[in-house]
Amino acid sequence: MNPVRKQRLAIIAFVLLGLAGAVALALYALSQNINLFFSPDQVVAGEAPVEQRMRLGGMVVEGSVLRASDSLKVQFDLTDYRGTVTVQYEGILPDLFREGQGIVAMGELNSDRVFQADEVLAKHDEKYMPPEISRALERTSQAAAGEEARPL
């Protein structure tokens, strides 16, 4: 490579490295703002703002969903297996909303640390499988659980 080209390459490499460093620092400084949602753990630890609009994300706890019989009001618990927060919402839930599924709710924490949501989005994971396989998996895990739970 001739010296002129070598020099150009070096300049480009330096500029790109500098830029990448600057962007990395900026993103690192902003990381709390780039996160789309707070986790229940952060709410329990008091890191999330109270009475301010924010998003809360986590898993819907199995068996925690309570629906009102005369309205669209619904209450459920969100967990990240380190902390749990109760969420209240009125409205239509997305199709993928179910117990054990991840969701992201928009709303605010009231002073009793109950999250009043006005929007609920379902989050799906990166795993895909045909329904038959999922049913088969469920059967085997239930069978295994049943064997364990059976009293001697």
Binding site: R8, L9, L16, L36, D95, E119, L121, E126, P131, I133
Partner: protein, 254 residues
């Protein structure tokens, strides 16, 4: 080996050599795209099993993921071309960069659009400002910036260098897109396919996806060759070989 690579590089690096060599390649790439994309789409949309959570709506993956992959790969390709332009001042690399921008922008838009269509039934919203979606939108703006720069600067050499600088600066966005789902909390799910792990998807679901992805890459290469050939004819129209070529084609009635 090295000398052979160098010779090959120089042959493709001259406008005339590129024009002559690209015709045959263009044919095979176009044919591959024409077979792979319909095969993958028909298999994926009609015959692949549905998903246990999302049902049929997951099938949009067969277009969304290849388009998003291509939008990022095309940008990396442009960045490499931009580096070659700035360091080696190679004309063909600059023409390829210019030709690739609208194709990449198209697929980037399609990835965002199909993602929104997918997001509505699964997440419950068309759009959310999470890190993955936002960084992908920035990629679309970068593509548009490159196209706009070419449109705004009349002098081709300056336009090519300005676009190369923009492309190289923007390449920092590519790892941000890739790792956004791991570095931050996002609504978008993490990657299903990783180099180091088995895909989180059975083979009857990802095989059609692989066909679609290969097909879209072939389609990109085909469009890129066609557009670059046009660009070469346009820029080299005063050279002897293009004049000869054109008069020959006129005489033979093509």
């Amino acid at each position: 080996m090295w000398t052979r690579f160098k010779r090959w590089f120089h042959q493709w690096g001259s406008p005339k050599g590129f024009y002559e060599r690209s015709q045959r390649w263009g044919f095979w790439l176009g044919l591959a795209a024409l077979i792979l994309i319909p095969a993958g789409l028909v298999w994926g949309l009609l015959f692949a099993p549905q998903d246990y959570q999302q049902g049929h709506s997951f099938r949009i993956i067969y277009f969304h993921v290849p388009a998003a992959m291509l939008a990022q790969s095309a940008y990396v390709f442009m960045a490499v071309a931009g580096l070659v332009v700035l360091v080696w001042r190679m004309k063909v690399a600059e023409m390829m960069l210019k030709s690739a921008a609208p194709i990449g922008a198209t697929f980037c838009f399609l990835a965002l659009f199909t993602g929104a269509v997918w997001g509505k039934p699964t997440w419950g919203t068309w759009w959310v400002w999470d890190a993955r979606l936002t960084s992908m939108l920035i990629l679309l703006f970068l593509y548009m910036g490159v196209i706009a720069l070419y449109g705004a600067i009349r002098d081709r050499q300056i336009a090519g260098r300005a676009a190369s600088v923009l492309v190289l600066v923007g390449v920092i966005n590519i790892p941000i897109i890739k790792y956004s789902v791991e570095w931050w909390n996002t609504l978008h799910q993490p990657a299903t396919f990783k180099l180091t792990e088995k895909p989180a998807m059975p083979v009857e679901m990802w095989a059609p996806l692989a066909l679609c992805a290969l097909g879209i890459y072939a389609c990109f290469a085909y469009c890129l060759l066609l557009r670059t050939r046009n660009e070469i004819l346009e820029r080299e129209k005063r050279t002897l070989w293009v004049r000869k070529l054109l008069t020959k084609e006129v005489e033979s009635g093509v």
